[in-house]
Subunit: 346 residues, 2 copies
Amino acid sequence: MTTIADVAKLARVSVATVSRTLHGSTRVDPRTRERVLAAAAELQYVASPTATSLASGRTHVVAVVAPMMSRWFFASIVTTIEQALREAGYHVLLMVLEDPPRPQASRLSPEMFAKRVDGIIWLNVLTTPEEAELLGRLALPMVCVGTAIDTAPTVLIDDRAAARQAVSHLLHLGHREIAYLGTVAETSAHMSTPAARVEAFRDALVAAGAPVREEWVLDVDWTAAAAAAAIEPVLRGIPAPTAVLAASDEMAIGVLGAARRLGLRVPEEVSVIGIDDHTFAEVLGLSTVRQDVPAQGRAAVSLLLDAMALGQGGDPGSPVARLELATTLIPRGTTAPPPTGGDGAG
Amino acid sequence: MTTIADVAKLARVSVATVSRTLHGSTRVDPRTRERVLAAAAELQYVASPTATSLASGRTHVVAVVAPMMSRWFFASIVTTIEQALREAGYHVLLMVLEDPPRPQASRLSPEMFAKRVDGIIWLNVLTTPEEAELLGRLALPMVCVGTAIDTAPTVLIDDRAAARQAVSHLLHLGHREIAYLGTVAETSAHMSTPAARVEAFRDALVAAGAPVREEWVLDVDWTAAAAAAAIEPVLRGIPAPTAVLAASDEMAIGVLGAARRLGLRVPEEVSVIGIDDHTFAEVLGLSTVRQDVPAQGRAAVSLLLDAMALGQGGDPGSPVARLELATTLIPRGTTAPPPTGGDGAG
DNA sequence: CTGAAAGCGCTTACAG
DNA sequence: CTGAAAGCGCTTACAG
């Protein structure tokens, strides 16, 4: 490992001068600059990030905390975040936390962040009160995506609007018997997304004078498999809904699977719509409400960069930013008028 | 930020003693031990990882390098790797590299790894010769997953066997007119997986005396959308294949989408099989060949831990490990005898 | 068992 | 413009 001292020796200057010409805050004589650069190149010098961090107090790494990688949303946004951060000169420390936390195991510890990262991007992981307290004590620049933590800047979509767009589409097509997938009972107090979406669903139905059948509002862990299992009995019931709104495309794909297994034709016998615009949505012809995940990732990074520029804790005076991105309805092949309503295409 | 000196002062011992009792390589008097522990707890002391790294020479972070996060395989394996590594006391620095590299942009630089990580897990990213050279110069403990780099331990599945299992299943059902999806022309020299699978496909067909129609062996970028676009004309052709083998489940899902759009019934009119056992495979009833991704992740971590224990570069004497995990056929609802062959279920 | 001291490889005022 | 020196917060022989 070649060190700054090696470069200094070869260039016949002090280490201070090497440090200066490599970072260039101050003026350096062009000729000594040349010598230093040449020496560094010849020795293939790479500064030790750990020594730099210790001396400067900044690590240039940010923690990205996610509840899982296996869901489309998280995989997509982590990709964007990592690239945006790398372009800005930061590295990302990835932490995948089990969610919800197991009773005993403490997922979070001060060691994970303290003096290790310059900032945190918190992706829709719900926190226990102790964890929130710990995060507060760390006083690190932080931004949340998806679910807000009181004091940190947050970027999210308008979940109520997204659900409303989906329901409206269904209502316009003539549906009134609509099932909903994606309530999350136990954690609803902490996670705003599931709660906001189902609330908007109910409101929209009520506003349209359509019935809200509670036995059709289903609790699911947001996986395709669970969605399929939950919707099957409903689809087989009498009466059965003429349409299903899933709070995520992955659950909607589960519904497609269940319909297929039951021999139900989509959209002729039952309409299906999701929320996300998942990678597979287009190829499967799934109607959905699109959210722009890369935009959310970029916004989160830019907010964090701002917060880190202001230093620890940010500016306590200014109001906490809250960015709400719009969503757009994308009608595709899985939604159509209900069998008894429109008598669509022959 | 409380430092080791604060703890030392409060406990009325030297910093050396604090360091010792916190790591406990040497004996420490039980009573002073108590005092130190109490002091550390009272001050909520967390050692600075950057100072520790500088002094000890180990960072306890490993780089995980992936070509993308949006594919099921990578999202799954990164999850497993992160958790296994965290349990072992390591953090992961995630790097998502564009693959293939853009001509000019250098994706890799020594700064990304040098003195920053203790090891590297390299996930199926193909390397240019310069990159391979750089990686070699770094001399960091490294393990590859998916595609081998000459000198590093590698864990992968038996790609030939996986493809063979899929073809055999189709042949046993009576298919002889089989299309294949997942050749990758430009990079075939670097990526063993696509090449191995299509080779095994061809060999199996030849061995069975079935025709290999080159116009049915399709070049696709391994996304569902591209697979759908590529297979559509083939499915509409005359003659058309009675079965399609996709080199990944994501492509198989694309084929399902294409069939749906064409109004072709699966498996009655065309059989579809993939490789992976993707999260959605079961719910969609997709026949596939299962690979155990968590096992690959755990194996990679364990190999890396071994290599890091041996120190830089590992033991040059011992042969480079190569772990090949087995795959298993999972027949589900998308495969059946061909229309003209078996006259399956009424 | 414990402390003093050197050293890890940088950065950053402070002089000059 | 440039160098000497202190300091970042730890670990690790070396003495005792």
